[in-house]
Amino acid sequence: MSKIGVFVCHCGTNIANTVDVERAVASARELPGVAFASEYKYMCSEPGQQMIKDAIEEYGLDRVVIASCSPRMHETTFRKMLKDTKVNPYMLEIANIREQCSWVHTDKAKATEKAIRLIRMSVAKAARDEPLFASSIPIEKRALVIGGGIAGIQAALDIADAGHEVALLEREPSIGGKMAMLDKTFPTLDCSACISTPKMVDAGAHPNIKLLTSCEVVKTEGYIGNFQVTIRRNARYVNHDICTGCGLCETKCPVKTDSEFNHGLSKRPAIYKLFPQAVPSKPVIDKNSCLKLTKGKCGVCEKVCPLGCIDYADEDREFTETFGAIVFATGYELIDWTALYGEYGGGRYPDMLTGLQFERLVNASGPTEGHIVRPSDGKEPKTVAIVKCVGSRDPKKGKSYCSRACCMYAAKHAHQILDKLPGTRVFIFYIDVRTPGKGYEEFYDQTRKDGAIYVRGRISKIYKDGDKLVCNGEDTLLGKQVKVMADMVVLETAMTPSSGIEELATMFGVARDVNDWIQEAHPKLRPVETQVGGVFLAGTCQGPRDIPDTVAHASAAAAKVVSLLNKSEMETSPMISVVRREHCCGCGACEKICPYTAITLEEIDDRVGAKRVKRPIASVNSGLCQGCGACTAACRTGAIDLLGFRNAQILEEVDALCL
């Protein structure tokens, strides 16, 4: 049997007033496996701890049961204490006879009986305790930030400034993200490019930041501290090592294709920079429109390039790097309203713009150099309808959630129209106006004072009549139908997670919520962490938010990353799941239930009679397992068990209560 020491704490009078400690000690002495039992006024005090240590030495104890306050209080204290003794820190059980006994009961006889039972349960469990050893995993002091928008840039800069290497990955040829497209930012109306491009440049030039543009994650293995991420760099066909970004090639390229950056409001060549202030400021070739690459003809850029940077033979290239931490900053995109809102014309009318298209239109560096004109005929609109909540707060057609930033940028758009084209009539159709932010309500007020007309109600139909866009709807405040004959309509559409988020989340084992936003580890207390250790969240990949919130979120994520990377290794709890290979049949029930993708099926060599075979069994990744034990209840055989809370231990507790 074991040699268990039982130590019952008086906790001053907290326990001793209600529990007859002496009787509890006497009964503990009779329990199977108990070699020593004793009491003390304050077990957690220095002399109390010393008493336990002395008893371990004197009686050769191999495990310890302390009957005291809640383990949530002092389990760590006592584990730490055991580190100096021969007893393994995990050969410790705590019987909670204060919070769950002396404090909640009054009848001393009955409370004493209950304390005796609780101690009996802990002793029975302790008899099945086994030595466990916390392992430490080394931490690769590098972070990977996925997504080069403002969130990714901010997180990368913060981590890099703290002295850690960062790889900033962006699938587009330039970092900058959505913020680079914006004209002005609410509520201060400072120029978006003026505040975001310096950050882009900082990121591009930071000695600790490596930009991985035109790159995508294709595979990942490992866990916190040690992710092996395989990245594909899509072919650029331009050797960025030599290219100076002179731009000659772009001017000579004969191809004109829709500009993504301007959302189709303008054309760009096949060899192009995403936008003039792109970082890196070097062009790439779009293989889908380049004549040389599609038809084998042309080759103009190669001819004009003074440095011979053009390399039509360039290929996608994969490489694997190790990172200690990952930041998701994958951002958002706008919902494809054309597929959902046939009643708005489904995208047939060129003078209906999304918010982002309008941003490009109104942007001084945009296709019209900031002139607000109709894309169809280049005329200035006299009446503009701005429709909010297109795809947001519309569970039937779009998303049930509020996209949070639209109320403010709708106000901003109205303001910009009224500012640039005084006298224009601007109607804003809304469900609610939500302005929770510093200076937001004031900005909204100002917009209304500027002349924007707010109409409460959804637009039910938009159709073309001559060169007017007729917007039918209801003013729900007045309770009557309204019809606006607009020259231009701006749809403030819902934010949705970036395309590709599903694959990426699955790769890292990160959970998504019902709307595919990445699920944070805890909605209140762990808003920048995921339930996968070492994977953090920055910005709108977690849910819609505006720029200040995104930047704050990104800095918070960076702080988490930095505190992780500042450690050289991380101690992992040894209370994790273990598999008995001879019993495991590889059915995979545990694999599906594990919230951390800590369990995978692994082929092992086995023998069936004389035959050597391979068979799958569950295998637990100790770096990922968080010790929740969900797998154990799913395993019919009991082949998977949780150290520290083994089936046998819990059953022993049950049995001990029943004695």
């Binding site: 049997m1 074991s2 040699k3 199977p32 050769g60």
Partner: protein, 280 residues
């Protein structure tokens, strides 16, 4: 040709254990411990013959059959390797803890029949445990027997059991040949597997009986080696104690063909085993 007594007896209710106390625990190797056991009133639980076994139980866990490796005036001893649930529980015992003991079970090594003959004891790993009782008996009755050789091997030095016996006590009374499987620092003895060492030693089969015990694979190769060296199967003796479960030949597990290891064994000559179905 060795005649083996196949009669087994155990007085009283053979399934009822008597409560005894562990008075001494010796750690032989990292996974083998020797338990010295005595009745609660300080007596020897029973007097086993060399090769006989006891059912030892951790009363609240279970019971299993173990060979008794030694005995004194007021104790019996068993060496137990940790292989499963029960042996794990046994290994967790401390001196002073109570165990259940019943026995003795099984027949015994042919101590009488081999009088006057040379004996070669061959053991591998924990396989020396059942043979130990016979070696101790032969040494205690040294003049009854001819030349005694003990050839014993294990994976490593650390895995050798009964180190005091094999290095200090036994060499005084018999020839000991110790080997380990793989070379290691600080070991200047023989290195190599038991069967090859056996052949190297080139024991003469003349008048010699062999008592062989160890893991199945070692037995297989030792038998090949012994045959090469000219030993007949009639003169090779082994024990099948690991097949015993209830100890009284009733629970149904121990039979090999119509022989019940509990009732007819566990000690057999290889010649006898060869006549049994191949189901070991």
């Amino acid at each position: 040709m060795v005649e083996i007594d196949h009669g087994c007896k155990c007085p009283g209710n053979p399934l009822l254990p008597q409560i005894c106390k562990v008075i001494k625990i010796t750690e032989e190797t990292p996974d083998v411990k020797t338990f010295r056991i005595q009745t609660l009133d300080g007596k020897k639980p029973f007097t086993p013959l060399p090769g006989q076994l006891a059912m030892i139980s951790v009363l609240n866990v279970g019971e299993a059959m173990f060979s008794l490796t030694a005995q004194g005036d007021d104790w019996i001893e068993s060496s137990i390797k940790r292989v499963g649930f029960l042996t794990e529980a046994l290994h967790n015992l401390f001196e002073g803890d109570l165990v259940g003991v019943r026995g003795p079970y099984g027949n015994h090594f042919p101590t009488e029949e081999l009088k006057g003959r040379d004996i070669l004891f061959v053991g591998g790993g924990i396989g020396l445990a059942p043979v130990r009782s016979f070696i101790r008996h032969a040494i205690a009755h040294r003049k009854d027997y001819g030349e005694l050789d003990v050839l014993y091997g294990s994976r490593s030095y650390g895995d050798l059991v009964f180190k005091e016996d094999i290095f200090d006590h036994w060499p005084k009374a018999c020839n000991t040949h110790i080997t380990i499987d793989i070379e290691e620092d600080g070991w200047d003895g023989h290195v190599g597997f038991v069967p090859s060492y056996l052949e190297e030693k080139a024991f003469s089969p003349e008048g010699k009986a062999v008592v062989l015990c160890g893991p199945p694979i070692m037995i297989t190769f030792c038998l090949i080696s012994l045959a090469k060296m000219g030993f007949s199967k009639e003169n090779v003796i082994t024990t099948l104690e690991m097949r015993m479960k209830c100890g009284v030949g009733k629970c149904g597990r121990c039979n090999i063909g119509s022989k019940y290891v509990c009732l007819d064994g566990p000690v057999f000559t290889m010649a006898e085993l060869e006549d049994l179905p191949d189901e070991q």
